[in-house]
């Protein structure tokens, strides 16, 4: 079963900033592909994070993490981590944030 991915407010701000800074618009496609893999099998790709959130309705959730990296031009790459939780409908992955850390390949 494929889950639906839904992003919260400003969840993709860092992706925009890094793609803009590295002048690498292709990063958006690469991230979309990676997140698609997560949607196919979140239990396999995701891992239990340390952070707990309480949702407005009172439900307490533990954030899940999905780490991946993408190429961003010659000699450059970006590590990403999506922070998400399962919607109470059990059909969606709700993404709180996508953090990114550019690096140079040695």
């Amino acid at each position: 079963m494929k889950y639906e991915i839904v992003y919260g407010d400003h969840a993709l701000d860092r992706l925009f900033a890094v793609a803009s800074e590295l002048d690498a618009p292709e990063l958006v496609d690469a991230v979309e592909e990676a997140m698609d893999r997560l949607a196919d099998d979140p239990l396999h790709h995701g891992k239990r994070g340390r952070t707990i959130y309480q949702l407005p309705g009172g439900r307490v959730v533990r954030a899940q993490e999905f780490d991946f990296h993408c190429n961003a031009g010659p000699g450059r790459g970006v590590h990403f981590r999506a922070h998400f939780y399962f919607g109470d409908d059990e059909l969606s992955l709700r993404v709180i944030n996508l953090t990114a850390n550019p690096y140079l390949r040695l």
Partner: protein
Amino acid sequence: MDCILNEQRICYDQLSERAEGWKSDHHKAMACRDVEQAVAIGLAILKNIRRWHETSAREVEQGATDFSWDSFEAVCGAYRWWLERSTVLLDVIAACEAGNFNVDGADDFRNEVRDISLMSLNVGQDRQAIASLEADKGIPSGKAMDEVRDRLRRSRS
């Protein structure tokens, strides 16, 4: 835990404030030994911050403590402080290695800095994202990515 962390914080602050001096003296092996000491302390402090984080998360999950955004902010603040101090040390480690001095624990330290730099430490933004998601105002993947593409196109033109 707070008391131990505070003492360690003061020590780590002092060590990393000296880091610039080490950088200029990086040709001296003794300076690199001091860097090793700072790296070891940094890793020990991170272990404590994580233990604190894990304990408080477990207590909330088990219903022993109520979740509070203020407590979450305190934990995130500790990670942010650690990351700021540790990023300074990364430069000094690189300077030691460039002078052919190996720094014990450097690889572990770099991995930990990368791991913490990928944490979501902006509490206000997380809170806002969750509020929008739970109000059914989240943006489906295809639309969200197209919005980023549009923003990039606009910023480049």
